[in-house]
Symmetry: C2
Subunit: 430 residues, 2 copies
């Protein structure tokens, strides 16, 4: 890897470089598609070992990135996402091993049907092909996303943010060492070896048919650009405006526990609740305890008139608040007129990510789960379960809110496609 990290510039050079990366990725994908599970597992375990063995080099590269980011005046939270230490490198290696230990998603028989003419038709999971991952400052994405792609038999083209270029390069070099040690082509996982921004545009264009899907990992502006410009499918969510609806028949104690967790466990993740809807039928008993609890926990509350009446600390919610993903200790609270009004609010203002209803009324829960058009709909549990690990997928490359192919947490199974395998004994079609 390292010899290709020379400075590359000039549009022609970048285009040639990127298309060459695409062609190499396609060739590697063909090899990966028929690689036995044991070799993929070995490659990832060797990669984890190489990450540990190269810890010093990775930390040295990261120190340069961090120093540059400081010189550029980046905020402390940004530096925190960028900075590695020994325990973070160990965590990266461990998560690569965790992916290695997952069941192979390729080759699963998804369905089998026997036809009256004796044909046996199987639908079998296959890799998707070449996955492009465009990320920002978190260098661990290099290893995490690369490992998930490889486990699913896909070649990965990884594009890191400029600020973590040295860290990502050092991690990618270690991964490549492990991958080639297992006999797989180094091109199974390629880090784009240039900081030139033009490379992103070329990836969004699909690299001449050699890029099958793009996964953006980063802030809203990155996701918005990828969704607007990509000529290939995108697995992503733009917003996570998640709602908790406290229905008329909600148990107050459960509602308090779940609402607090949904909002405050971690406020910066996409599954954090951003809007609380309280049914007017239980507002007299449930609204004040919920709002007071949130305020006392350090959460700012922006509410409608009914909510403002509950506590002087509540500030007025504007129309814009219902559309805002705060990713912070802020929540918008509204009183709604029953289940239909709650679902209408979610349909109007939501982002089709994750919504939860709290109720002891099974019929109301059934309607909410059947009718709310979000990737994840939840009854009597926290929205913060919107996570591939919590779903049992082992790990996720992200959460998708589109309706095509992958929806919800995107784990290794969602990084596969399928084909049909027809077993005959000489059948011809009449």
């Amino acid at each position: 890897m390292s010899e290709s990290l020379k400075v590359i510039s000039g549009s022609d050079d970048i285009a040639a470089l990127m298309h060459d990366i695409g062609r190499r990725a396609r060739a590697a994908a063909r090899a990966l598609a028929i690689t036995p599970e044991g070799i993929k597992t070995q490659a990832l375990n060797e990669a984890a070992a190489a990450l540990r063995a190269n810890k010093a080099a990775i930390l040295a590269a990261n120190a340069e990135d961090v120093a540059e980011a400081r010189r550029n005046g980046q905020a402390a939270s940004y530096i925190d996402r960028l900075a590695l230490d020994e325990s973070r490198v160990e965590a990266i290696a461990a998560s690569v091993e965790a992916v290695a230990a997952l069941p192979d998603p390729v080759g699963r028989t998804l369905a089998t049907f026997t036809r009256p003419n004796g044909l046996v038709i199987e639908r079998v999971a296959t890799p998707l092909g070449v996955v492009g991952v465009i990320f920002e400052s978190r260098p661990n994405v290099t290893a995490d996303a690369g490992a998930l792609c490889l486990k699913a038999g896909n070649a990965a083209i990884l594009r890191t943010g400029s600020d973590s270029f040295r860290s990502a390069s050092a991690i990618a070099a270690a991964m490549a060492f492990g991958i080639t040690a297992a006999g797989l082509p180094a091109e199974a996982m390629q880090l784009v070896p240039t900081r030139e921004r033009e490379a992103v545009g070329l990836m969004l264009g699909g690299l001449g048919g050699n890029l099958d899907v793009i996964v953006p990992r980063g802030g809203k502006s990155l996701v918005a650009r990828v969704q607007a410009e990509a000529r290939v499918p995108v697995f992503a969510h733009l917003d996570g405006i998640c709602h908790v609806y406290v229905h008329a028949a909600a148990d107050l104690a459960m509602a308090q526990t779940v609402v607090l967790n949904a909002k405050m466990r971690r406020t910066g993740i996409c599954g954090a609740a951003e809007t609380l809807l309280v049914d007017r039928a239980c507002a007299a008993t449930h609204l004040a305890p919920l709002v007071t609890m949130l305020l006392d926990a350090g959460c700012a509350v922006r509410g409608d008139a009914a909510t403002q009446a509950v506590d002087a600390r509540v500030t007025p919610a504007s129309e814009e608040d219902w559309r805002t993903e705060y990713l912070d200790a802020i929540i918008a609270v509204r009183v709604v007129d029953g289940l239909d009004d709650a679902m209408a609010h979610i349909d109007t203002y939501g982002s089709h990510h994750t919504e939860s209803i709290l109720t002891e009324d099974a019929a109301a829960a059934a309607r909410f789960l059947a009718e709310v058009d979000s990737a994840i709909v939840v009854h009597n549990a926290s929205t913060q379960f919107a996570d591939g690990g919590e779903f049992g997928f082992g790990a996720e490359i992200g959460i998708a809110t589109g309706r095509m192919h992958a929806r919800g947490p995107v784990g290794v199974e969602q990084l596969t496609s399928f084909n049909y395998r027809v077993h005959g004994s000489g059948q011809t079609r009449p």
Copy 2:
């Protein structure tokens, strides 16, 4: 429907019209997504009845289309695709009823997993949303594609070719009558009420987010344009360059039967074989009988040197022949050096549609089925089984060769998405 069939022209008008169609489709899709199976079934059965009841109007409209096509000098084969008669209208009605009788693909539980914390997570099939269908001269597509979309809970936006505009309009009017008779919104199935070509470009642009997927139904130039320009996912195949590989261990009698069927049963369908690969190890015994059989059946054979040596009627195959979908009684024949050479040929020249291996060697068949990257791979049966009906899907809207979401025959199940429904009892995330 009929009142909207006035002449519409001017770019602003067309853009406004199409975006309005998109918004109405999205609203209808929301209603369809939660429509019970019985209502959808009733709507389709009412639509079939309306098609029969309006047979005279449909045939009169079709007669005008046919007259115009004749005036425009269209070929006889084109007129045949366009022309309807009583039995064809009856067949259209019957196929709408057949779709009505299929199991509802929406609401199926695709997977269920119980987590250690007691959460029960279901993956449940949901509609895709709004499906755009762009087709050419076959007016029956209006009913067939519209019925499949509705069965899967999707709103459909149907764009017919200019030459079948009157026929498609009459069919759409009958369908709308049935749909509204069942209480569903007429916008569940909208025919684009203008012949202006600009409408196609607007659909390819996605109608401001109100079109989720496009299915082109027609010739290669239509599919190529849609694939090149669409900003939304496309379910399609550009080519069906299907291969039959007669392996060294093929049974000659079976090979003759299957090859004849794969090539000659119907030469104009996408699953028809276009290239025959014969293993050098059995060429001495198998090549001549297969080639002679095809020639005697009226099939032109274009072959490599070994094939030309077999029969004077064989003409030389050029490099271009290996890449050609003849859709006619023509086949390209090549002798290959074993399984790897056959798979390399398919990978180089194929279209990832359907390929068949004929062999009594189970290990060779297993490798072919596992390693050939096509939507459908077949052992010891005809490639002409590449069809949703033959797969047991009831009907298909087309065959897709992309790896995203739908691959192979696209039936009602493939016109669905899914979401996750999480059943809790107060769980919070640690």
